[in-house]
């Protein structure tokens, strides 16, 4: 969605970084959410055991996925739900379009589904003349702004309330210069209520699909998925193959972890369990692969399929917080997105595993214990081996190899570096050196460590 294929993470981050005040706000706000997550997690003595249990359940799911998918399908069909399978984004979008046509509808109300972002569903349906309205407040805002979401839980975290007021002024007819969140939310409530009441077809995502019972669970705070689903005649639910949990009781583990990790709430306001359609109405589930089975086959990276989309890794990430979600130019941003995206297109997303300090904070907060930073590191090896590293980086690495393998060269280079910082800082602090963007110069030390050691030993 509005992707900028020619711009890599660093370039897009630079654009985001032009507004320093906004970057600071973004950084601090996401850190505040990370702190709320910590507070919620620390209230449960069993937190670490829960993470371990969730991780083991998801490992079990991945290792028995074929059986679970068949079991889920059987039970869902027995419950009166129609099940469809899509190998890729194109097939998924075609199925959705066909189902809308079959319902003789031309309009769709949609609740949050990162999968449909991944599939580019909105653009596809627009080309087919289907009107799509996103009903999650944050998603509606970015939709009006013609932008993709920048965060999977907080889609418009990059927007200021004044900009949202301006959007609502332009599109929803409120007066100019209103920025009160209460007023703006009420405006969206009125606008979307009339949408919910007039749409015959709704599309939602799926948080969890239970193999044992054939039911699926959708979690929201706003209630938008329920407003759409219970008023429409046709409910389409799109899910990736990895959304399965084996038994209903396992939901207990995941619902305890999900929102505490995401926002620090003990649970979302609504955790709705859909088992059968309403009398005379229809529920369709579309089970989507779109590269997931390939990822399942990559031993080092299959763990990424355990993700429950809480976004804790984004909120804690020092790079995400300061570069913004759009800099990742993919539907799922941040650390988890950076290990999912190269699976879909190695060349296009070769920059993302490098958009990390490898500090490991993402892995520490992940509720299902995905080794995110280790996978980022492993992706770098794979990308370089496959020839996807930038030319400059390759050349630099070669120079570093020569320098670090020769003590004479190493000492000479150190001396030259210290002299340059002291006497000719402009040679380093210039626009050709990305390390000096948004950074102050460090003072150059008078001595190298080895010179200091020689004098003081």
């Amino acid at each position: 969605m509005n992707e900028q294929p020619n711009k890599d993470h660093a370039t897009l981050a630079l654009e985001f970084n032009r507004d320093e005040e906004r970057v600071n706000w973004h950084d601090e706000t996401l850190w505040w959410i990370r702190q709320k997550r910590d507070k919620a997690a620390h209230q449960l003595v069993e937190w670490e055991s829960l993470r371990e249990a969730a991780s083991q359940i998801k490992n079990n799911v991945l290792s028995n996925l074929q059986n679970y998918l068949v079991q889920f399908e059987q039970n869902a069909v027995a419950n009166g739900i129609e099940v469809h399978w899509a190998v890729d984004a194109a097939e998924h979008n075609k199925i959705v379009h066909r189902l809308i046509n079959e319902a003789h509808a031309t309009r769709l109300v949609k609740s949050k589904s990162m999968l449909t972002e991944e599939c580019g569903l909105n653009e596809y349906l627009a080309q087919k003349g289907i009107e799509v309205i996103d009903s999650d407040l944050g998603e509606r805002i970015v939709q009006l702004a013609k932008e993709p979401p920048s965060h999977i839980v907080l889609p418009c975290i990059h927007k200021k309330k004044e900009e949202i007021g301006e959007l609502f002024h332009k599109h929803l007819g409120i007066e100019a210069n209103i920025s009160d969140p209460q007023f703006l939310t009420e405006t969206a409530r009125q606008h979307l209520r009339s949408v919910f009441l007039t749409r015959k077809v709704t599309l939602t995502g799926v948080n969890f699909a239970v193999a044992e019972t054939g039911e699926f669970v959708i979690c929201t705070n706003e209630g938008n998925a329920d407003m759409g689903a219970h008023l429409a005649d046709v409910h389409i639910a799109s899910m990736g193959i990895e959304k399965i949990v084996p038994e209903r009781k396992h939901l207990g583990v995941f619902l305890r972890l999900l929102t505490r990790s995401a926002t620090g709430q003990p649970i979302t306001t609504y955790s709705s369990h859909f088992k059968t359609p309403r009398d005379g109405k229809k529920i369709h589930i579309i089970i989507v692969d779109n590269g997931r089975t390939v990822q399942l086959g990559r031993k080092d990276f299959r763990n990424s399929l355990k993700c429950i989309r809480c976004a804790a890794c984004m909120n804690t990430c020092p790079v995400y917080r300061r570069s913004g979600g759009h800099s990742y130019h993919t539907a799922v941003a941040g650390p988890i997105g950076s290990i999912l995206a190269p699976n879909l297109d190695m060349e296009k997303y070769a920059d993302l595993p490098f958009a990390s300090t490898l500090c490991g904070s993402c892995s520490n907060v992940c509720p299902v214990k995905i080794d995110i930073h280790e996978q980022l590191y492993k992706w770098r090896q794979v990308l370089v081996k496959n020839g996807h590293a930038p030319t400059v980086k390759k050349a630099m690495m070669q120079v570093m190899t020569w320098t670090l393998s020769s003590p004479v060269l190493y000492h000479a280079a150190g001396k030259a570096g210290r002299w340059t910082i002291k006497h000719a800082p402009f040679a380093i602090n210039n626009k050709f050196n990305p390390w000096y963007k948004q950074r102050e110069m460090p003072a150059s030390p008078a001595l190298s460590f080895s010179d200091w050691y020689k004098r003081n030993k």
Binding site: T29, W32, I33, E46, S49, L50, A53, N59, N60, S63, N64, L65, Q66, L69, W85, A86, V87, L137, I141, L154, I157, K160, K161, I164, Q182, L184, T185, R189, R193, N221, E222, G223, N224, M227, A229, H230, L231, I241, P246, R248, K249, L251, G252, L255, R256, P266, I267, T269, Y270, S272, H273, F274, T276, P277, R278, T293, V294, L296, G297, K299
Partner: protein, 205 residues
């Protein structure tokens, strides 16, 4: 159906060796849930709590709050005197769009997160707890469990077409992380805890 076979055979070819499921029964507390903890948690997510002794008291409180002008809908037979109309006779669920207050029973509450579990048979219409401007829920003090694990233990025996955990009024913080109550669903959620034994003691805490 070709896509189904393609996906399933790709899954089979790529899935790792079988690993077992963990024992999650270790998380069950095997004690009663605390009404006090439930109430505190629900209040922290924007809900309201009343300890009452019976439905008569609930009727009195609701009438005082909402008066007789507002449209009140409830499938609870004990509350038939305060409900505005009988929703059994709706032509379309869209007629619920101007409901001011819906009063529903819940099966139980959960102390750790302030949620109540309501299934379709207690809602009358699936849309009712979402489309109403305000929601009130009735539970018994004995029906409070400590965590989600005991909740699913109770649910495991149940059959339902639709069921939901509701924890507080609908809300959003999508605009600059400012919490706003009343996103698309109810603008308030009140839970009445019926406690015939120690209502006074609980309410004084």
């Amino acid at each position: 159906m070709r896509s189904r076979e393609t996906i399933l055979s790709a899954v089979k070819a790529n899935q790792p060796a079988n690993t077992g499921l963990p024992d999650i029964s270790i998380f069950e507390k095997r004690v009663k849930g605390s009404a006090h903890k439930f109430a505190t948690t629900l209040k922290s997510v924007g809900g309201k709590i009343f300890y009452v002794t019976d439905y008569e008291e609930i009727s009195r409180i609701l009438l005082k709050q909402y008066g007789k002008e507002m449209r009140i809908v409830s499938p609870i037979i004990e509350l038939r005197d305060i409900r505005s109309d009988n929703p059994d006779t709706l032509d379309s669920i869209h007629q619920l769009q101007d409901v001011e207050l819906a009063v529903l029973k819940a099966h139980f509450g959960i102390a750790e997160n302030g949620a109540v579990w309501i299934t379709e048979d207690y809602m009358q219409y699936r849309i009712l707890p979402f489309i109403t401007q305000h929601l009130a829920v009735v539970i018994h003090a004995d029906d409070i469990v400590p965590t989600m694990h005991e909740a699913y233990e109770l649910i495991s025996k149940a059959t339902y077409g639709f069921g939901t955990f509701i924890a507080g009024p609908s809300k959003t913080a999508d605009i600059e992380q400012s919490l706003v109550i009343g996103a698309h669903g109810p603008r308030s959620m009140t839970v009445f805890i019926i406690n015939n034994n120690n209502a006074e003691e609980e309410s004084r805490r």
